[in-house]
């Protein structure tokens, strides 16, 4: 460090006193094993989140959240503002990549059993963060006020409305009235730029503090080897790899935004029929497709699809509470049932998404992945038995 820089650093240290942070910088290490690659996806999700905050604030400078002006203001951004098309396309693409990395992060943590004590709250805060990310996607999708978004919001809020007992309240709460209207747009805008960011920021801080407190989890399959796991210093070794990954991500993002600028679509018309190519964002596709496959009718006074919606809710609740439910992984260091449920959940998401897009090869890919995962699990177990 140059003399000036070190004096500034010393001046700051005396006043801010970030000894906790310094401690982390000096002592934090990352386990090195054959699953270490999965450690990158949490940081990658955070990287996309910072891009979302930055580009989102920029878009707020020109966006006008009203039925009369929303679509036009985005058209203005896309066609008149310097680099407006780039900023908006990056915001849209980065949102999608963030959802993807958040899902990868969730499933890797699930399959590596990183939710084991004392990391229960880390898992729970992370799970809520994933739900919030989906909430960002859902609320942000409406803001351009185009046809697809309008009908997607009608369908999405209608699903919330079909929940027994509280459905009616939920529907009016989400829509800001009985119908998807200008009130819905104002409301979604408020959620998207103020309420969700506030909750998300708080939870990210909590999540990161917990991660620093407990350090990186080592998967039980590695712990069972008995030999101490090799470790890499977080600063600078792992962090530099993180940064390398972020630069790659930025490159992919810039390429996607430049080559495939995000479309605006036609302005929504509440009195026009739904367009034939209506479909939700890809991360809601599996649920959308599953709902489409449910035959009409009702059972015990509830419509058939309500059971599926309640089922999704129950799965979500179970997933949130997983660290409290899965006691076996604490006792025995393994829980094949949870692994199976995780692989099944992943296969369901990929498979139904593929069916939704009328593409079958990902279904086969999923089955192969699932089979491969199962085989690997079996091999690990048998090797373990052979060792003992």
């Amino acid at each position: 460090m140059t003399p000036v820089a070190s004096r500034v650093a010393g001046w700051l240290r005396d006043r801010v006193g970030l000894s906790g942070l310094e401690h982390v910088v000096q002592t934090k290490t990352v386990p090195v094993h054959r699953h270490s690659a999965w450690y990158y996806f949490g940081g990658m999700t955070l990287f996309f989140f910072t891009i979302q905050v930055t580009t989102g604030i920029l878009l707020m400078l020109y966006y006008k959240p009203s039925v009369q002006e929303a679509h036009e203001s985005i058209q203005f951004i896309m066609t008149q503002v310097s680099f407006g098309w780039l900023i908006r396309s990056i915001h849209s693409w980065s949102a999608n990549l963030m959802v993807a990395t958040a899902f990868i992060h969730l499933f890797s943590v699930l399959l590596m059993k990183a939710y084991r004590p004392p990391r229960e709250l880390t898992w729970m805060s992370g799970f809520v963060l994933l739900v919030l990310v989906l909430g960002f996607g859902f609320s942000g999708y409406l803001l351009p006020w185009n046809k697809l978004a309008y009908f997607a919001t009608r369908v999405g809020t209608d699903i919330a409305g079909s929940v027994p007992v509280v459905g009616g309240f939920l529907l009016r709460f989400l829509r800001g009235g009985d119908h998807v209207s200008g009130s819905t747009l104002s409301r979604f805008y408020g959620w998207h730029v103020a309420i969700l960011p506030a909750i998300t920021t708080f939870l990210i801080v909590l999540h990161l503090v917990l991660v620093q407190r407990h350090g990186m989890s080592i998967p039980p399959s590695e712990e069972r080897h008995g030999v101490p796991v090799r470790r890499m210093r977080f600063v600078p070794d792992f962090l530099l790899r993180d940064v390398f990954g972020w630069i790659l991500a930025l490159g992919v993002l810039a390429a996607l935004a430049a080559l495939f600028p995000w479309e605006l679509g036609e302005k929504a018309d509440p009195f026009a029929p739904a367009p034939p190519d209506i479909r939700p964002e890809w991360y809601f596709m599996a649920m959308f497709q599953a709902l489409r496959l449910i035959p009409g009718g009702s059972l015990f006074g509830l419509e058939n699809e309500t059971y599926l919606i309640l089922g999704f809710g129950a799965v979500g609740l179970l997933a949130f509470l997983l660290p409290l439910i899965d006691r076996r992984v604490v006792r025995e260091g393994r829980s094949p049932l949870v692994t199976l449920a995780g692989v099944f959940g992943l296969a369901f998401l990929v498979g139904f998404t593929a069916i939704g897009y009328r593409a079958w090869w990902p279904v086969w890919a999923t089955l192969l992945i699932a089979a491969g995962g199962w085989m690997a699990g079996r091999m690990a177990v048998s090797r373990q038995e052979g060792n003992s």
């Binding site: 930055t54 920029l58 400078l61 020109y62 008149q80 503002v81 310097s82 680099f83 407006g84 780039l86 900023i87 630069i247 930025l250």
Partner: protein, 141 residues
């Protein structure tokens, strides 16, 4: 001659510098709003004769800026930009003193549009008035 390490350090610094520049440049350009074509219509219908007979003056929209129309003598009209030359507040007629007054910083203009008291540095821009029957039109001088 630089060492291999020195070269690599310089190379990494330049790479990150370039990366920062390509991020910062679009953001700076995005922050400066594009010029929107203003309504530069040369002539507007500012008022009806009957509108002015009561108060003797009226603020009218001239493009996206306000103008002020004053009846200085029966049947004799003058029009100025209503934007104070001091700090862009909108002026009004002060009937008692027969002057144009800016409430923000107590600036005064006479009925020729000249800045006569208070902080305004320049006279108000004067427009041309045409009366056609009951209609009063204003055009840029």
């Amino acid at each position: 001659m630089t060492s291999r390490r020195g070269f690599l350090e310089r190379f990494v610094q330049l790479t990150f510098g370039a990366l920062g520049a390509v991020v910062v440049y679009p953001v700076l350009r995005f922050l400066s709003p594009p010029h929107v074509a203003e309504d530069r219509s040369a002539r507007v219908l500012a008022a009806k004769v009957a509108d002015l007979s009561r108060d003797g003056w009226k603020i009218f929209p001239f493009g996206s800026e306000p103008g002020i129309l004053v009846e200085v003598a029966p049947g004799e009209y003058r029009a100025f930009s209503a934007t104070c030359t001091h700090l862009e507040c909108t002026v009004q007629m002060e009937k008692a003193s027969h002057r144009i007054w800016c409430a923000c910083h107590n600036g005064y203009y006479d009925l020729e549009g000249r800045n006569v008291a208070g902080p305004p540095p320049r006279p108000l821009t004067r427009f041309t008035v045409h009366v056609e029957g009951e209609d009063i039109y204003v055009s840029r001088a």
